[in-house]
């Protein structure tokens, strides 16, 4: 069950502005493929184009080698789980799970069999005669899953299926969903705005923004080799620092008191954005040679997130050990940075990165 998107675009009749531009990707059999992006990026539209619920303005969609642009949704052999679960309030759990099978005119013994199996798989056998309003949010979610399972379609599309659950349940369901997908050998296309969901569940992730694909890659690569500043900012908490810097000879000059030596990269731009993960910043406390002033400290258990103001008033986020005794208005010295990425200041595209060794930040002057 491979799905190929070839230059898919979508423009609604009412407006000239396209909502999706030239999306291409091949989704492989058994893959857990996540489409992620901020709201309004077109991710739900893309999912609905694959489902056949929204027409395709341009480009080709092939499912298992067959052109599917005009195939009605029911003939695409896929199931879908919706954000609101799309359960019918007047049907019992079992009826909700079986309603699609019934409309496909399957024999009733087959329907019962499939409904029973699907409900057992999501641990809802005892609640089969309840109505949706008698269920908790998590249980409703499971009914929606059971419906997808019962259809026995090998492709399952999921549209933010966990976003209506509370944080704890969501974490639990992430694991269950992933297990289910593996056990059933499903090809899952999963839409979410939540970077954590994307990172924890996906085999591969497509990042969408501004109607366009920003990057398609494994979670590790997205984090370690972001194509552009948007992708870098989208993944990781706290967010990556993007600092403006001038390029001097083999050095990035962030401000007068913070220079990063470039040992492995060479670039021609004179001004760039430097992306530094907060956890990659090394600091020392004390006014001697300080190059930043602490603005806030948020205690998170084993870590603290510090925001500090640099000499030229840019703000930097730092993750530090919570053992560190530090408070607002303390002076600190940024002594080094583990990895960093360099982005073009205009196009925001990645133009270089440096990894591995701790690069000693050079402190030019002690002005604090």
């Amino acid at each position: 069950m491979t799905i190929t998107l070839n230059q898919l675009s979508k423009t609604y009749e009412e407006s000239a502005q396209p909502v999706l531009k030239e999306v291409s990707v091949q989704i492989n059999d058994g893959e857990f493929f996540v489409i992620v992006g901020p709201s309004g990026c077109g991710k739900s539209t893309l999912l609905r184009m694959i489902a056949g619920l929204t027409s395709i303005s341009d480009g080709k969609l092939t499912i298992n080698g067959k052109l599917a642009n005009q195939v009605p949704p029911k003939d695409r052999a896929l199931s879908m789980v919706f954000q609101s679960y799309a359960l019918f309030p007047f049907m019992t759990v079992a009826e909700n799970v079986g309603f699609g099978l019934k409309s496909r005119k399957l024999p009733s013994s087959e329907i019962n069999h499939r409904v029973d199996d699907a409900l057992a798989m999501v641990n809802l056998s005892d609640l089969r005669d309840r109505k949706p309003k008698e269920l908790s949010g998590g249980q409703r979610q499971r009914v929606a899953l059971a419906r997808a399972i019962a259809s026995e379609a090998k492709i399952c599309l999921m549209d933010e299926p966990l976003s209506n659950l509370d944080a704890q349940l969501r974490a639990k369901m992430r694991i269950e969903l992933k297990q289910l997908q593996r056990n059933l050998g499903l090809t899952v296309i999963y839409v979410t705005h939540d970077q954590v969901e994307a990172m924890t569940m996906a085999d591969r992730v497509m990042v969408l923004n501004d109607q366009r694909v920003q990057q398609i890659d494994t979670p590790i690569n997205l984090y370690q080799r972001p194509n552009n500043a948007f992708v870098a900012q989208f993944f990781g908490t706290p967010q990556i620092n993007l600092l403006k810097a001038n390029v001097a000879e083999r050095e990035l000059v962030i401000d007068s008191a913070l220079h990063l030596p470039m040992t492995k990269t060479q670039i021609n731009n004179s001004k760039v954005l430097v992306g530094i993960r907060p956890a990659d910043v090394r600091i020392q406390i004390g006014s001697r040679g300080a190059n930043a002033r602490v603005a806030t400290v948020s205690y998170l258990g084993n870590q603290s997130v510090i925001t500090a103001v640099l000499n030229d008033s840019q703000t930097i986020r730092i993750v530090a050990d919570s053992q560190l005794q530090i408070a607002a208005d303390d002076l600190i010295k940024i002594i080094g940075v583990e990895d960093f990425h360099i982005f073009d200041i205009n196009s925001q595209k990645l133009i270089g990165s440096q990894k591995g060794d701790v690069s000693d930040a050079r402190v030019a002057a002690t002005e604090f």
Partner: protein, 316 residues
């Protein structure tokens, strides 16, 4: 359909592809238009025969003199209209209708509101009172007419008996041109109360209680709460009730026919009753059509006003 095509065919050829797209689209279109015919056809047909066509026909007839079978005979242009607005009988009928409509609307809303507010109290057995207050909704026009005909009856009615006990001058409600319209107004308001109460009561119940808690803490008294909080907030509902009552009042026919037959002295000869008289008793279909058009224009204006104002939402 597409799946049955050989996979290695010239599907890649863009011309073939767009042809395919067209075939399937038009197939889908045909299927959908079948549903449109099935779902919309019956209603559209009925509305055309019994609403649109009659409207056009009425407009047409209003420009003609008609024979007594209702066929147009002589084209007279707008002279039916001109004559109507010169006819003192019609003008007085129009005046009586306006008086009736305004009195009914005002009284219905004031009394309905009184009932709705009274039913807000948290007392034991309040549900019983709420049911009672909405009950006139289930009383049909002829039943209401009989109840009130009895009440207004000059020899056995309650009103007559009360005025006898109190030594007040006797009023023959339905036979006195000064009081007949009032009698019909009272009956209409009574019939309207159930529906109006139900709607206004529902609207008051839906107001968030936090607003009144806040007002209480600020030391605002109940009367001020009602006029400054409740009333402005339910103004959309109030407006809805007003429009429904207005339109219903303009269309009044049953009570007139049952209680006064348009009399005495045409004092209760309201617009619809006049249409009926001119068309079906006097056989003057052209004139009656003209009167119908005027009635339609009045109601259309009120409805349009409603759409427009409800679009903006009436608040404050």
């Amino acid at each position: 359909m597409l799946e049955s095509l050989p996979q290695n065919s010239n599907l890649q050829d863009p011309d073939v592809q767009s042809a395919l797209v067209q075939i399937t689209t038009s197939a889908r279109w045909r299927k959908d238009s079948l549903y449109v015919t099935l779902f919309l056809g019956p209603s559209l047909l009925l509305l055309s025969v019994f609403v649109f066509w009659p409207m056009i026909k009425t407009l047409y007839l209003s420009l003609f003199l008609t024979d007594n079978l209702g066929h147009a005979s002589v084209f007279v242009g707008l002279s039916n209209y001109v004559n109507l607005f010169k006819d003192p009988a019609y003008l007085s009928s129009l005046g009586a209708t306006l008086l009736y409509v305004i009195a009914v609307s005002v009284l219905t809303i004031v009394l309905g509101m009184l009932l709705a507010v009274a039913a807000q109290q948290h007392l034991q057995g309040i549900r019983f009172f709420r049911t009672i207050f909405s009950s006139t909704m289930g009383i049909s026009v002829s039943v209401a007419a009989i109840f009130w005909l009895f009440a207004f009856n000059p020899s056995v009615g309650v009103f007559a008996q009360i005025s006898q006990v109190l030594h007040l001058p006797e009023i023959n409600w339905l036979a006195d041109p000064h009081f007949a319209l009032l009698a019909v107004i009272i009956t209409t308001v009574w019939m309207n109360l159930g529906f109006t109460f139900l709607i206004l009561f529902g609207a008051l119940q839906q107001l968030p209680s936090s607003l009144f808690e806040a007002a209480k803490i600020a030391g605002v008294n109940k009367t001020t709460q009602f006029f400054k909080i409740s009333l402005p907030l339910i103004s959309p509902t109030l407006f809805f009730v007003l429009v429904v009552t207005l339109i219903d009042a303009f269309k009044s026919f049953g009570l007139i026919d049952l209680m006064t037959v348009g009399g005495p002295n045409n004092a209760t000869n309201l617009l619809v009753y006049r249409v009926y008289q001119d068309a079906f008793l006097n056989g003057n279909y052209g004139l009656a059509s003209t009167e119908s058009v005027i009635l339609t224009v009045i109601i259309a204006i009120i409805t349009l006003l409603q759409f427009k104002l409800l679009g903006k939402r009436v608040n404050y």
